[in-house]
Structure formats: structure tokens, C-alpha cells
Assembly symmetry: C2
Homo-oligomer: 313 residues x 2
Amino acid sequence: MAFCIGVDIGGTTVKLGIFEEEGRNIEKWEIPTFTENEGVRILPDIAEAIKKKMVQLELKKEDCLGIGVGVPAPVTKEGVVNGTANLGWKYKEVKKELEELTGISSVIGNDANVAALGEMWQGGGKGKQDLVMVTLGTGVGTGFIVGGKLIVGSHGAGGEGGHIRVNYEETESCGCGNRGCLEQYASATGIVRLAKKKLAQETRDTLLTKKEISAKSVFDAVKAKDDVAMEIAEEFGTYLAYGLSNMAALSDPSIFVIGGGVSKAGSVLIDYVEKKYREVAFFANRDVEFALASLGNDAGIIGAAKLALDAVR
Amino acid sequence: MAFCIGVDIGGTTVKLGIFEEEGRNIEKWEIPTFTENEGVRILPDIAEAIKKKMVQLELKKEDCLGIGVGVPAPVTKEGVVNGTANLGWKYKEVKKELEELTGISSVIGNDANVAALGEMWQGGGKGKQDLVMVTLGTGVGTGFIVGGKLIVGSHGAGGEGGHIRVNYEETESCGCGNRGCLEQYASATGIVRLAKKKLAQETRDTLLTKKEISAKSVFDAVKAKDDVAMEIAEEFGTYLAYGLSNMAALSDPSIFVIGGGVSKAGSVLIDYVEKKYREVAFFANRDVEFALASLGNDAGIIGAAKLALDAVR
């Protein structure tokens, strides 16, 4: 039976999955990520885990179509990473090293891009060819698919939509060093920042308390029709809509898929963004569907498996 | 001898070119664009012109690899246009109609995208695979090439970088109805707008006069070290750099190719943009080359010919 393997490398755990060619998951499991010593163990640990699992499931190497890997860093077309924030890797030839360790051809991609591929294959964007996935987590990650193919870019840094500017008057700095990046408003931490600013000068009664503010508490209060929270959501929605409209002016998607922890707020979040998006987008890009991501934490392994499949098809 | 045909449809003239497979131009000529009656004559006139020229040059239809066409409007993947500002066309099945008229397979693209393809093939971006072309003319057109392929988008409206927002505080409207689009600052008319605003409150001596202000007069004054003009160029460069940095965050190019009438100012224009770009771009996208477009008015027919070639290769 032909199969492929999807690997999603995170800072704490590595998720792995074995998939049939048509996409059905046969097995999924996790191993810890050891980032010590510049992450030297990570790839050998992955290779070992794959080999063991293949023995256990009686899968033959010659039936393996390939390994796809998502990495939390820009990845060049050659499968090289030039430094990561969370894995300890500096310059690393991920593709070459993993192929040497496993004897199986491998394809490496950026994790946000790979997750977009997963959502296109089996999730919120199923059946679409032109998709933008936006992951609202600690930061804002984006993945761009045009005509069914990922935009990788010349430095492997395509699809960094979290660092599109949505406010040229911002005085605080983003983690990247610039000011006014989408990530400063639409990430979990960005929403908390907006909320704290609002509360600092707020005199009205509100369900929100300065101590325990989170993206979740803001959207919970929105659902309870809290005026202050609704104004924060409005601000969040406006910045995200500006970001999305800039993205759409370039890649002209038919669907936005919104994922990440913040998206657990559900359809209420989409409402705030979608309404504003229709107002501010370039007219030719206005007709875009909005959907919530549906694969959760599995988007990475599913997309990685698809990355491997696309390479041999 | 195998050959292909490039067609660039403009509001006043249609440019046509016949090219050998390797890119050498054999013939180029122009015909007028008759936009009357919803532009009903345009495609028949083009078909007629092509047929005549092929007879004259003794070229056989079976040796023609295809016709590529650039159109000043969004074009779907199926070669359909849903309205144009300058040609009179409303809904038009350009590919189907031209193929019926000529009996030769045709590929239709947006003119700014097609010009980008031309500059990649034979012009300022020769040899590159990840390119953004920005055409600074009456408006701002952009074409995005990623991995050697044009970004067309789901509505054929990919690469509309002129309508990325670079100023959220703008009070005047862009032609598209939004406010703060790149086009309002970096086009020929945008530069004039910036200059007029500046001159209205300027007390210093300057070579610029309110009456005869143009993109050319501004950059001529910059070359003469006129302080006021240099400040206008600085402002232009800042907005364009913001626009380019947003574009780069998505498509991660290795080169920006700057064309259009405004780019005749030459390297001084690049200087203003490039310096600012290095300051404001996302760190992973900073290492990008800047080049002037080199094909001038021929970019359209050359890119259209390439579009036809890519479809059969």
C-alpha cells in the first residue's frame, strides 16, 4: 500500500502522521522536541520514530511516497533553514539530512504554509485552489496558495502576512522590529494589547478586568454583548480586514481560512472581520468566502503529507 | 520555423509582434484600437492584422505555437474579461472569440502581469524566477511572478499592488473608491498630487512652479538638488517603499523591476525607494535587488509572446 508521512516540528513536540495516498490517516503520534545543542537531536529522533513506526505497522520503505515536513521558520526551495527562533537550529540542510537519515525523499516547508496546504486538502478550504490561510496564535502566520501551489518565495519567506503594515502611526514595536505590523493587532497578544489600551482609559462598566485579559475573555464578553469588548473586537476586525485586503490585492483568493487559538472564538470573530473586509477591500477582490479552519492541530501533519504527495505527482 | 505572436491591447493602439521560439523578434507593428460599440471591432481587427502579416511573411498557421494577449483589465484563467475601463468591453470571452477568429490557440492575461513576464524573459529581471514588476504610469500596475509563474488569482485580479494601502489617514479618495492606495502617491498623478500639496504651503525658493508640475519636472528638480523637490521625492519613495515591503512580505521576490513613465527619471528614483525599502521591509525580505525595466513599450508584446510559449511548453 502506497503511503506518505507528514511531520510537523514544533518547539515542544513533533507531530507525525502516516497517510494513505488519498488522504486517510492511518496513524498519528507525537515525540518530544529536544532543542538542546542547537537542536542536533531533532532530525535523528524523527528518523528513528518513523523507522520504528514503519516496522510496527509492517510498512515497506519502497511503498513510501515521501516525507513532508513543516518547520517554524522560512525554508528555501532546497529545503534549507537559515536559523529558527524555537528549535535551536542555525543553518541546517533539513531535506538533505533527513533523506540521509531515512533513505526516503523529503520535502520541507514553512509550518504556516504547510498548514494552509492541509486546510486546502482536507479542511476549511477543501476544494479551493486560491486560498489564504491566516493563523491567529501567539503571532500571526499566513500561508498563500495560488492555483493550488504554495507561494514559497526567493528566500523561503513568502507568505509573511503577519508583517504587512496596517497602521503607519503605531509607536510601539512589533517583535520583528518594525512598527504597525498586523501581528501587533490580530494575534492573541495583539488583542490583549488592544484591550489593555482600551481599559486604561475606560470608565464604562465592562465584564473585562485588567488582570485577566485574554483573546478568549474579550470574545466571551463580546458574546455577552459587552460594549467595551465589542469595540475592541471592532478594532481587531478593522486591522485584520486591512491586512486581508492588502493580501487579497496581491494573491486574489477565493477563500480566507482563519485558524489558530484566537479563531476558537468562532463565527463571531468572522463576523467582525468579514463585514469590515467587504468595506475596505479593492472592489475586484471583495467576493471572497470566509471560513474557520477545521483541522486544528492536525493541519500541520496533513499539510506536510500533501506537500510530500505533490512532490511526486 | 516555429513562431509565436504577442499582442498588447491598449486604449489607443494595439501593438503586435511576431517572435521566434527563442525570443528573437521578427516583426512588430501597430494598429489603432477602435473602442466604439463596446469595442466590437477590436478582436476582429487583431485577427485580420495577424492573418495579413502571416501571409506577407509567408508564415504557416501550423508553425504558430500560439497567440498571447495582454489586456488592460482583470482576466480570468479561462480568458474572460468582465468589463474594461478603456476598451469598451463588458463581459467578453476573449480567448474563445480570438481562437474562433484565428484558428490559433490563445492565452489572455492582464497587461501589467504580462509586462512583468516580458521583463523577466528579456528585460530588467532577466534570469529571475521571483519578481515583482511595478509600473509607475498614470496609475500603478504590478505584476507578481513566483517560481517563474504569474499570480493570476481567483478573479483574475491578482497582482493589484497599486491598491495596497500605504496611508490609513488619507482623506482623499483613490480612483478605486478607497483611500490611501499606493497609486495615490507613486503614480505620475500621485507625484503631482504630493507636489501640489507641498507647494501650496511652501515658502522656500524652488525650481518647481505650481503651473507646470509633473513627475518629470519633480525629478528634474531633484537632479538639480532642489530641496523642495527632494522632499517630495522622499515622500514618494517612502510610500512606494511601504507598498513594496507589503508586497515582499507576501511574495518574497529576489528583484523589483520598476517601469512605466515615471521610471524614466532613472536611477535617482531607485535611490529614493531602495534606501527607504531597506529600512522598512520585513527582515527576511530585505535582500532584494532593484532594477529599472528595460523593454519600454515592448514589454507587453514580449511578455504576451512568452505567455503563449509557456502555455505550450
